[in-house]
């Protein structure tokens, strides 16, 4: 399923880029992320516990930051497997300065498979978007705290 959207951070582009590329901040920002370990530069092992209400699941997987062109764009590639199924996604993230703010626009693809996919198609698109918003809101908090 295709996902795309925008988000505006009230922080300069360089700061946003820095936070996006700091594993500690990434872990804080990713919803439900309990563990994020860098195995190789740009490649991470991830452990997430995400869900909506009763539909919770733990996902073990990998994440990769690739094709980075600092501070303009980067590609996030991730996949996780859990009992409810697997999630695979890829998003191209572009940063554009807007005065003191930074406009993020993202375009990507999310694939959900397994138990969740067969019965959740009604909401998967909306939930994916919602989790992304959650991610950006968390990043916003981190940007504020980091000064």
């Amino acid at each position: 399923m295709k996902i795309e959207g925008t988000y505006t951070f009230s922080a300069p582009q360089a700061r946003v880029w820095e936070v996006l590329n700091t594993p500690k901040h990434l872990q804080e920002a990713l919803p439900g992320c309990e563990k994020l370990e860098e195995r190789e530069p740009g490649k991470f092992d991830v452990y997430l516990k995400i869900g909506i209400a009763a539909v919770k699941g733990s996902y073990k997987g990998k994440m990769e930051i690739a094709d980075a062109e600092p501070p303009h764009r980067t590609r996030l590639i991730g996949e996780g497997k859990g009992l409810p199924g697997f999630v695979k996604g890829e998003a191209l993230i572009q940063l554009t300065p807007q005065d003191q703010n930074t406009l993020i626009s993202y375009q990507g693809d999310v694939q959900v498979g397994g138990l969740l996919a067969g019965v959740g198609q009604r909401m998967i698109g909306g939930v994916a978007k919602m989790l992304l918003e959650h991610f950006f809101k968390n990043m916003e908090k981190i940007l504020k705290l980091a000064g």
């Binding site: 209400a53 009763a54 539909v55 138990l115 969740l116 019965v119 009604r122 909401m123 698109g125 909306g126």
Partner: protein, 291 residues
């Protein structure tokens, strides 16, 4: 499919139930009608380790009138509300909306509280409670609190309920005299999840002009949507077909629906317009016809 293993408790009081939730926290889930939870458990997309079955809890099943409100216990069955003469007289839009919930067997088990807390983006009771600006009373370890509809529905399948709380009561304003109302739902088959639904209320008071309008739409976002700009278009106006058509277009523009296999975002926006228009027309006809 069979659910994963769980422990099972049947508390007899609200206090006991909350105690169990406190003890087990995130591992516990409340079981009321089970019409949404059990299928999710059978599919193993929900795997609560503990089920707190509140069907034995006394005094959560009631419908009564208190001043200008209908007060309904959280465990009251949807079917009971649907056929209640009190509800049909004082708040008929609620009865009408409930008749769209699935099929009769489902409504004999499903509960008011369960439907609200489950917060399915297309569920009928949340849409109507949003339109009516109902209030939800929830009870938890630190006592009771009252939540308004706007703050109660947070996002997909998520209410503002804390995991240790139980919804014990819903308070819904009764309809003042001379109020036009309509509930409509578009779906593929009888009994299906709604694709787009509309709850429309025209509060006329004793005037010729509409004093206030309430328009809540379901299926167009993560929670029921009050289309405030469309409501503003109608407030203080003489209701005409042309104005209703404008309100339909406005309501549609306030929606940001998602696409899914059954309906694209564009189609939902179209249905939002069409059914807002039809719903307002039906509500207006009720006013004209003296209800």
């Amino acid at each position: 499919m069979k659910p994963s293993a769980f422990e099972y408790f049947t508390p007899a009081t609200v206090t006991e139930a909350i105690g169990l939730l406190e003890r087990y926290g995130e591992e516990a889930k409340v079981l009321a009608g089970g019409q949404s939870l059990i299928p999710m458990m059978n599919f193993r997309v929900a795997r609560p380790k503990v089920l707190v079955d509140i069907n034995q809890v006394k005094d959560l099943d009631y419908i009564r009138e208190e001043k200008d409100e209908l007060v309904i216990g959280g465990l009251t069955r949807e079917r009971a509300v649907e056929v209640s003469p009190l509800v049909q007289k004082k708040c008929p839009i609620l009865s009408e909306a409930i008749s769209y919930i699935g099929h009769l067997p489902i409504r004999t088990r499903g509960t008011m509280g369960g439907s609200l807390v489950h917060a399915d983006p297309t569920a009928e009771i949340p849409v109507v409670v949003s339109a009516l600006e109902g209030k939800m009373k929830v009870a938890g370890p630190s006592g009771e609190r009252l939540l308004g509809a706007d703050e109660f529905f947070v996002t997909y399948l998520t209410s503002a309920l804390d995991p240790l709380e139980i919804l014990v009561e819903v308070r819904i304003p009764t309809l003042p005299p001379n109020t036009g109302w309509s509930f409509m739902e578009f779906n593929r088959r009888y009994g299906d999840f709604g694709i787009v639904s509309v709850a429309a209320l025209l509060f006329m008071g004793d005037k010729e002009r509409c004093q206030k309008a309430s328009l809540a739409l379901g299926g167009v976002g993560p929670t029921p949507l009050r289309t405030r700009k469309a409501e503003k278009l109608l407030a203080g106006q003489v209701i005409t077909d042309a104005l209703i058509a404008k309100a339909g277009i406005q309501a549609s523009q306030e929606t940001e629906p998602e696409s899914d296999y059954h309906a694209s975002a564009e189609y939902r926006r179209n249905l939002a317009r069409v059914f807002t228009q039809r719903s307002l027309t039906e509500a207006w006809n009720k006013v004209k016809g003296g209800k």
